[in-house]
Structure formats: C-alpha cells, structure tokens
C-alpha cells in the first residue's frame, strides 16, 4: 500500500514566549535569529504512524509530502530519514499565503497525481496556525472518509482501524480505504533517525511540483478566509509573590491573601 504523510514546516514552537515576535505590517511571525524551522510536531508523529504500518507490512511505500518554501525540503528529508521512501515538495509563488482550502487543494491535487494512494496521514493540527482542518479538507477533496485524532492506526483487509482520543473517551473507528487519518500526540514519540538513515535519506528521491504540474490556477486557489490582522496580545497581570523565610510562612501568606480576597 502507498501511504502519503503530509508534513508542514513550521517555526520552532519551543522558544521562550518572550522571543515570540510578529511583524504586524506583513502579518507574519518573525522567528528569533538562528532558530531553524522544524517539522510540525504532530506531523512527525504521523510519520511515526506510517512507519509502524510499514514495520508490520514491508510492502508499504511511504511518501512524505510538504507544501511550503524551498526549505521545506528539510522536513521531507527528516521524514525520509525516519524511513520514508520518497518525497514530494510543493513549491510555487502561487502557493504563498494560501488559506486552508487552498492548502488542501494543492495537497489533494498532488495526492491525486500520485494516483495509487491508499492512506493519507496528517497531524491533528499544525503547531503554528492550530486550525486542524487540512486533513478533513483533503478527505473531502479526495472523496474519502476522514478519522480525526488517532492514537493508533492499523491497516488490514482494505480497512483502516483507528483508536481515537477524545477528551472524555476513547473510540475505535473503522473506515474503508482509501481514507485520511489525522494523528494526535497520544500515538507516541516519533522515532529518532540514526546517522546512517540520515545519510541514506540524502539519496532518496524528492519530486518537486508547482501549480502548472498540478493543473492549478489562481482561481482554484482563491482564498475563502482573509487574514485581517496578526498580533501579540498584551497581558497586564502582575504577580504577587508570597514572601516568607520558610515554605510554611509562604503558604500562610497565600492562604491569608486568599481569605482577604474572599476566595476561600
């Protein structure tokens, strides 16, 4: 079976909140100097889900697909080092600043172009925009069923079986292939590529396609949502630190303040 994993390149989210900056005029995030972009967290976990399927069925082919800047080749290489077989890089000026519908249109067109895909895996949400819609939109565009928030994904007999994580429940859901599954962190840690695998990944094929290769024009990518403004909210909370020479004094001070504020 052929699995496509969609991996987005995002600014590193693991930075101190104080170094998070936005260029309001450009409506863009300005990463701190020297901090390289990374594969979106849940997308690396989606690659892990694909590799577990491949571990169980060696005839599985895994394609790592990313839409973004030319630098997105790095996140494809990372997926290939984890054990992916081939990459598809989707770069074109026409792909800049797409909304989710446009993003899903490009990704689903590339998946259709591959032709023989049985399963598409995405993250539950990209860690930058956090929308959590692209997987579902790809499914709609492919006419395939979608199962969101997977904690495990197994494939057998033309069906995918997914354990879903919900805030108050676990569900097991089945759907016929081809299908789209969005993966959550409860699936587990992504595997760490070994040096040998990183070297092997450098030799794996990455195809690069643009709008013309996919038969897409500006009308097909017209936005449905417009970004009006991007800004950093100001918070003006000032913390009152409890003084005291011992934990007991600090705790007593806190309880006193809570009583004064009629909170307990």
């Amino acid at each position: 079976m052929h699995i496509v994993v969609c991996v987005k390149q995002v600014p590193d989210w693991d930075i101190p909140p104080a170094s998070f900056k936005v260029d309001e005029a450009a409506k863009k995030v300005v990463p701190p100097p020297g901090v390289a972009p990374v594969p979106s967290q849940f997308d690396a976990i989606a690659v892990e889900a694909a590799m577990r399927i491949k571990d169980a069925a060696a005839d599985t082919k895994v394609t790592i697909m990313s839409l973004g800047a030319a630098s997105a080749r790095d996140v494809i290489k990372h997926g290939l080092a984890m054990g992916g077989d081939e990459g598809v890089l989707l770069v074109d000026d026409a792909f800049n600043d797409l909304d989710s519908t446009g993003t899903a249109t490009v990704l689903s067109s590339a998946i259709k172009k591959l032709g023989d895909v049985g399963l598409v895996l995405t993250g539950r949400q990209a860690v930058d925009w956090d929308l959590g819609v692209t997987g579902t939109l790809i499914a709609e565009m492919l006419g395939a069923p979608v199962i969101t928030f997977a904690k495990s994904v197994t494939v057998a007999g033309g069906k995918v079986t997914v354990e879903r994580v919900l805030p108050d429940a676990f569900e097991t859901v089945e759907a016929p292939l081809p299908a789209v599954v969005t993966v959550s962190n409860e699936l587990g840690e992504p595997r760490y590529p070994k040096l040998q695998q990183i070297m092997a990944a450098a030799r794996k094929q990455v195809n690069q396609w643009g709008a013309a290769d996919l038969g897409l024009d500006a009308a097909a990518l017209a936005p449905r949502l417009t970004l009006e403004r991007l800004f950093v909210p100001v918070t003006d909370t000032k913390v009152e630190i409890m003084e005291g020479d011992t934990p007991e004094e600090q705790a007593d001070a806190l309880v006193r303040r809570l009583q004064e504020a009629k909170l307990i």
Binding site: W129, L225, D252
Partner: protein, 320 residues
C-alpha cells in the same frame, strides 16, 4: 437571502450542554438577524424544547445519528443549514465541532474559522479572532465566502440562559453513505467534580517528577472541593489520564481558582486555563512563564510548599 445565525446545539445527559447557551449568547450579540439552533441525534427531539433564546430549533432526528460519525453528522448539518439558510453558523470547539466544522464548511462551499474567542459583524461580514501559534498570537479573519462558519472556544462567551423555547422544525433527512463506523467506545470515568465545571482546579506538571507527586495535588483539590488537572507533558508520560489534560489540545477550564504546581506555563497550556479568575503558581523557577499569568505565586520546591499549603488550608478551614 441568507440571514441570521444558526448554532449547533449539543446535549449532555439529555439536556443542553453549557456550550449551547454560550453559542446562543454569542449569536444574539452578533445582532445579525434571527438566532436558530440545529439539534442532531437520535431520540433528541424531546430536548428541543429545552433550548432557549432561539426562534427556531431545526431538529434532525434519525437512528443513523445515534453515534457521532463525520459522514452522518455532516449530512445532517448540511440538511439543517440548507433549510435554515443562515448567514453565520456557529459550533463549539468541542469533539463534535472540531471534527464537523471543516467538513460542513467544505460541503457548503465555504470555510471554517476554528477555535475563535471573539466574534463581531463589521460591514455585514463576520470577523473572528482566534489564538494562533499555540496562543502566542491572535489572528483576525474575515470571510470571503458565505455562509461564515466558525467554531467557538468553550467558556470564551457569556452564556444566555432562559428566554423562550423556539419553534421546532423537523428537517427531512435520509442518511446517505456512512463510511466510518464506531466499533467500540470507552468513556473515561471521573470521580468527583467534573474538571470543566469545577470552581477550583489544582493542576500538576512535569516538575512533580512522577505519578506519586500527584498525591498532594489530589489532597489539595479534595480539600478545596476542586478537580485535578494535568499538563500535556504529564498526560503524555502516562502519569495522569488524558481526560485531565488542560490546554490547547486538552480541556478549557475557567475556575475561580486555578492552582498550577510545577507547571512551566507554556502558551499551549495557558490556552486552556487563561480564563481562570485567579491563577496561583507554585514553581521553583522564578522565571517560569506561569508567573506572568498568575495573580499569586510561591517560588519554591513543591515538595515542601505543597504540604505547607495543605496544612495552612486545613488550619484556615478549621478556624472558619
């Protein structure tokens, strides 16, 4: 002409869930025409009369909707939306809303703004504000397509309780192909106060060092009549159940008192608790981000601070 606001009603134990009244409140405040609700499920028609503050309740009641599936619920919501012809559709950012909104929007040739915390009509178009970048930024979106579909973060909107019940309209619905099926379902059991409804939440983070660290957390929560919460790091490590996770990908809570113990206060965690009225932070690192959002703080090792706090609360309770 499309007009008005349609909200997706959700039920909990047969009665409207809190998110329903929050959505009705948000919809009324938009001042964008009549507010109606859609109620989807099997055997739910009786609950329609309990949804208040709306003119009409569109009920899609069908055995195929007994269990939530993306296919069946999308079809049902499309049917209700086509009958109601709203300009705006609001859903909760809940299990159901998260899964349903993008598919519903796509089927209606429009788009969904997810996890919004503020909504307003400007020049007749819906503008939504949502956290992005794990809560570090805010993004304001407007719609170039119609109807405008948005999910609304729980507890971000004041609920409207009371008011009269709406006229009930049954929506004709024949379920089409349903491709995915739920074969098993286990509900996480929680004892005591429900985390989302608790007036006091005591949350433990990775700094507790292991599941044993939660003994004090449980004791303090119990003393204050509250619920236990966990950071994602803790849930990922398996120290606590996922059902206790607070944050962007967990639950949203807004208690009167939120005590965060050995939690660093990552933006994605704060996304689930920043609506709390009083955040109290206990952390050994005075630079921890949690102190930036807290009203009261204790800098120290939880191993000594937590027992002292438990003792002080007990003393205060005994004195009261």
């Amino acid at each position: 002409m499309a007009n008005g606001v349609l909200v997706l009603a959700e039920l909990a134990d047969g009665a409207p869930a809190p998110i329903t009244a929050e959505l009705v409140g948000a919809a009324q405040r938009l001042n964008a025409g009549p507010v109606s609700a859609m109620l989807i499920g099997s055997g739910v028609e009786g609950a329609a009369a309990r949804i208040t503050g709306v003119e009409t309740v569109y009920v899609v009641d069908n055995p195929a909707l007994a269990e939530y599936t993306n296919d069946a619920y999308t079809q049902a919501a499309v049917a209700a939306a086509q009958q109601a012809e709203p300009a705006v559709i609001l859903l909760g950012q809940t299990d159901t809303g998260r899964d349903l909104a993008p598919a519903l929007a796509y089927k209606l040739n429009t788009a969904a703004a997810m996890d919004t915390i503020a909504l307003e009509m400007k020049d007749g178009r819906l503008h939504t504000t949502r956290p992005a970048y794990g809560g570090n930024a805010r993004a304001v979106n407007s719609f170039a397509a119609a109807p405008a579909v948005a999910t609304v973060r729980p507890k971000s909107q004041d609920a409207v309780e009371g008011g009269s019940a709406g006229r009930v309209v049954k929506v004709d619905f024949a379920a089409g192909a349903v491709r995915s099926h739920v074969t098993a379902r286990t509900v996480a059991s929680s004892e005591g106060v429900r985390l989302e409804d608790a007036d006091v939440v005591v949350t433990g983070g990775r700094g507790l060092g292991g599941p044993e660290g939660f003994q004090g957390i449980e004791e303090l929560a119990h003393l204050l009549g509250g619920a236990v919460g966990a950071s994602r790091a803790v849930a990922d490590l398996g120290w606590r159940p996922v059902a206790e996770q607070v944050g962007l990908t967990g639950k949203v809570v807004s208690p009167t008192i939120y005590i965060a113990v050995a939690v660093s206060g990552a933006s994605q965690h704060m996304a689930g608790c920043s609506g709390s009225k009083n955040i109290i932070a206990i952390n050994k690192d005075p630079e921890a981000n949690i102190f930036k959002a807290a009203r009261f703080g204790i800098v120290g090792d939880y191993k000594t601070v937590l027992p002292a706090l438990i003792a002080a609360v007990k003393k205060a309770k005994a004195g009261a």
